[in-house]
């Protein structure tokens, strides 16, 4: 290694392929995910049917929004357990507005996003400015959001959503591509741009890598962390919009508990770490693919949903174990 700079700038591949032990471990998991996907697609009948693929894409979107939000938060060094119940909270508020108050779908959707933002704000304030522990804060927000949803609806589910809303969101473009798939791709691209190409994204990575150094470098760490949680809340709101339209009703448990595991698993498989400073939208998307394909194949194979839960829990534990080993 000489002091003078005679090295050729590494090519695209070398620049983007990981060099660290950690990066290599990340790549390994992503590669494993792809290989498993290929294996499954060749061995399970009906897997590669267009209908199934589009089905996958549609399911993917819900998990996708939440995982993208979680990615931001984990890059900052925290975690957000509350996203999936904020979805319910937003869903019931927006749905009630559209059904009982006859608001337009636009208003309804805006309300869902607003609810998400409010909860995200609470999380962000507590964690970034109140210096509270992310796990506990979001754990209690999770319960509060759930409780709020139940209280708001008196445990009733809301149906009779306006057709204009349902068709707008859960319809198909060109009669083929489900709109949720379009939305998730759009959101993923925007998120990727923010994280990878903007000043804020850089702030997020640096803050997550070493908060003290970031502070000294002049990065506004509190604002950075705060916005990450607000963004996660926003994602919850978007999830509410899409999910409510897909399902057709607003209930108090829009997203099952187990999905939280899926969200964590996708981000961690995609390279994020609890310590912060790593993870990416692209990685999360691969993790997403893996988890969704896994779930989908369980479906096709007729695996009991309960076994699926067990396996997912086990996968999460293994993934965390891998994360620990990666950091050694």
């Amino acid at each position: 290694m000489t002091g003078g700079y005679a090295v050729q700038p590494p090519g695209f591949l070398q620049r983007n392929l990981p060099q660290s032990r950690r990066g290599k471990a990340n790549a390994f998991t992503i590669l494993a995910a792809i290989i498993i996907t290929i294996i499954l697609s060749t061995t399970i009948p009906h897997f590669l049917r267009l209908g199934n693929i589009l089905n996958i894409l549609e399911q993917l979107s819900i998990l996708g929004f939440m995982s993208i939000g979680m990615t931001f938060v984990m890059v900052s060094g925290g975690i957000d357990l509350s996203t999936y119940t904020i979805v319910s909270a937003g869903s019931v508020v927006g749905a009630t507005a559209m059904v009982s108050a006859s608001c337009s779908p636009l208003v309804g959707c805006s309300l869902m996003v607003l609810v998400g933002l409010v909860f995200g704000l609470i999380n962000g304030l507590a964690i970034a400015f109140g210096k509270m522990i992310p796990f506990i804060v979001t754990l209690s927000t999770m319960v509060v959001a759930q409780g709020f949803a139940i209280w708001f609806t008196q445990a009733q589910s809301i149906s009779g959503l306006p057709d204009s809303y349902i068709d707008a969101i859960s319809g198909k473009v060109f009669d083929l591509i489900p709109i949720p798939a379009v939305i998730i791709i759009a959101v993923a691209v925007i998120a990727w741009v923010i994280l990878d190409r903007t000043q804020y994204g850089r702030w997020l990575y640096l803050t997550g890598t070493n908060q003290a150094a970031a502070r000294i470098s002049g990065i506004p760490i509190q604002l950075t962390i705060f916005l990450a949680y607000v963004f996660s809340g926003l994602m919850a709101g978007i999830t509410a919009i899409v999910l409510t339209a897909m399902v057709g009703t607003a209930t108090t448990a829009m997203v099952r508990d187990e999905r939280l595991m899926d969200v964590i698993a996708t981000t961690v498989i995609g390279g994020a770490s609890l310590k912060g400073g790593s993870g990416s939208v692209l990685g999360t998307m691969f993790g997403l693919l893996f988890i969704t394909v896994l779930g989908n194949s369980f479906n096709l194979l007729g695996v009991s949903p309960f076994v699926a839960i067990v396996i997912k829990g086990a996968v999460l534990v293994m993934v965390i174990g891998l994360d620990v080993l990666r950091s050694r």
Binding site: P10, S20, R202, T209
Partner: protein, 507 residues
């Protein structure tokens, strides 16, 4: 002092780390009922020697004898078993538990009949007994978290007693103590001596050595440079041994033309500084801030940057033709600040070098609209710095910071701040943990920066570095400025005398 064989004997100890010979043929003895003062500047080898005794390092060569029996110490736990207690600068304690529990955690007394119930009465009683041996009236039931720093230290010493240690090492025990607490500590240490323990007292406060110790040992550059009974020496003798009989290094910088004043610090007051501190920083000048650890240097710097709370004081910064009052936090945004500990808060280790370098001036690379980062520009700037500073990396700007050597990492940090093109640079230990070659380069860089007009504040623990770089030196002792040294007065002897001794100069 007892006669006969020494309780502890370390013979011909050698220890080397990559690039550094920490200890060379050091032999050292301590007898029961004797207090040995181990002195030397930072990096002289005191800590390494004691860490070997404490089981944290293993010597490359040499032997250790306890009561003339050779032993090998492989871990701190083993050191404990051999009767060696190492009381570190930062006390190790359990805040929510009682003094007695802290003392006896390794071997709590249990009820004779029910073997898993702790016999709290016995624990308290024995704790009180040990505390009384030390002449302390700390209550065994008090929670350690509510005790003062000095009291916590005494609890640790009591713990050493309770574990049956015969050899007690105290590492810079007085750096955070008040005057009264120091007196109490001395009483306690004298009691330990009466109790027949061999005590090794590491410090750079020579007054304490003269007051407390029976014997002194001086290390310099990893070698033994003097030892003997305290009653035979004066403070000046010890100072001479510490800094050496070599020709004092002359200031090599020569008189630099001083420019306008760049920064004025007026009457800064904080809990760690015992008096108001004021100083002026001029463009083109390297102002050294010299003093021992705990004298207030880093505290002053952090206070100036708004990283620590201050109780009073004003900053004036020259901007263009005006001098304006500014908040400390603002100074952090405008200057270059190299921190003491690059691993803790200087680098983003897992990130590539280019991201590290541009981190302080990201606003320069963002587009107006949407704040996109111009990565190409960032890479270009980083590459320029890498070439200018001759930073050795495996893949140019793309290497992750953690793969670089210490010296190159430090250069990256320099690059990071230079990227901001600041007019003021605040350097805290800029060549710490850096190999000799890189040290030279960095020192040359600092001189060049001053020549180009930057105002530089320099803190370093290496006296040669301070002497060879500074145009002017402010010496701090005990939280106040005791000397302003200029010109020919800037040499090893003068600086050490001011830092260790009693004098003042132009203060």
């Amino acid at each position: 002092m007892s006669d006969g064989a020494p309780k502890l004997r370390m013979s011909a100890i050698c220890k080397a780390f990559p690039g550094v010979r920490a200890l060379e043929d050091v032999s050292f003895e301590a007898r029961a009922g004797e207090i040995v003062g181990l002195v030397g500047v930072n990096g002289a080898g005191k800590s390494t020697l004691m860490n070997i005794l404490g089981g944290i390092y293993q010597p490359d060569e040499g032997k250790i004898f306890i009561n003339e029996e050779q032993i090998v110490i492989r871990s701190p736990k083993e050191a404990g078993r051999y009767g060696i207690s190492f009381i570190h600068q930062e006390p190790q304690f359990f805040a929510t538990q009682s003094v007695a529990e802290n003392i006896f955690i390794s071997h709590l007394f249990t009820n004779p009949t029910v073997s898993f119930i702790v016999d709290k009465k016995a624990v308290d009683r024995e704790a009180r007994r040990h505390l009384q041996t030390l002449g302390s009236d700390i209550q065994p039931k008090a929670k350690v978290g509510s005790l003062s720093v000095g009291e916590r230290q005494i609890v640790e010493i009591a713990r050493a007693l309770a574990m049956g240690s015969e050899i007690v090492i105290l590492d810079e025990p007085t750096s955070s103590l008040s005057f009264k607490e120091k007196e109490t500590l001395f009483k306690v240490v004298k009691r330990l001596k009466l109790d027949g323990k061999a005590i090794i007292y590491i410090t750079h406060f020579l007054d304490e050595v003269l007051e407390l110790c029976d014997k002194f040992v001086v290390l310099r550059n990893g070698q033994l440079h003097g030892q003997g009974p305290i009653k035979d020496v004066t403070k000046d003798d010890i100072i001479k041994l510490i800094i050496g009989r070599d020709a004092t290094v002359e200031s090599a910088s020569g008189r630099r033309g001083k420019g306008d004043i760049a920064l004025r610090v007026e009457k800064f007051r904080s809990p760690q500084l015992s008096q108001d501190i004021s100083l002026d920083l001029y463009q083109g000048e390297i102002l050294g801030l010299w003093g021992l650890m705990g004298s207030g240097r880093t505290e002053l710097l952090r206070a100036m940057l708004g990283l620590d709370r201050i109780e009073g004081g004003v900053l004036f910064l020259r901007m263009g033709a005006w001098t304006a009052k500014i908040q400390p936090r603002k100074l952090l945004k405008l200057c270059g600040y190299i921190t003491e500990n690059r691993h803790a808060d200087g680098l983003f280790l897992s990130q590539p070098v280019w991201k590290n370098i541009t981190a302080t001036a990201l606003t320069r690379y963002v587009s107006k609209f949407l704040r996109f980062l111009n990565v190409a520009e960032e890479l270009k700037a980083s590459t320029t710095h890498i070439q200018a500073l001759r930073i050795a990396t495996g893949q140019g700007p793309y290497s992750r910071a953690e793969t670089l050597s210490g010296g190159n990492q430090q250069k990256v940090i320099f690059a990071k701040w230079l990227n901001r093109q600041p007019k003021i640079l605040l350097l805290d230990e800029p060549t710490r943990g850096v190999d000799v070659g890189a040290k030279m380069e960095i020192r040359g860089l600092i001189r060049t920066l001053a020549r180009d007009g930057a105002a530089i504040l320099l803190i370093t623990s290496e006296v040669e570095e301070m002497v060879s770089l500074s145009d002017r030196v402010l010496v701090l002792r005990g939280g106040q400025i005791v000397g302003t040294v200029e010109g020919a007065d800037i040499n090893n002897a003068m600086l050490m005398r001011l830092a260790l001794g009693e004098e003042r100069l132009n203060a």
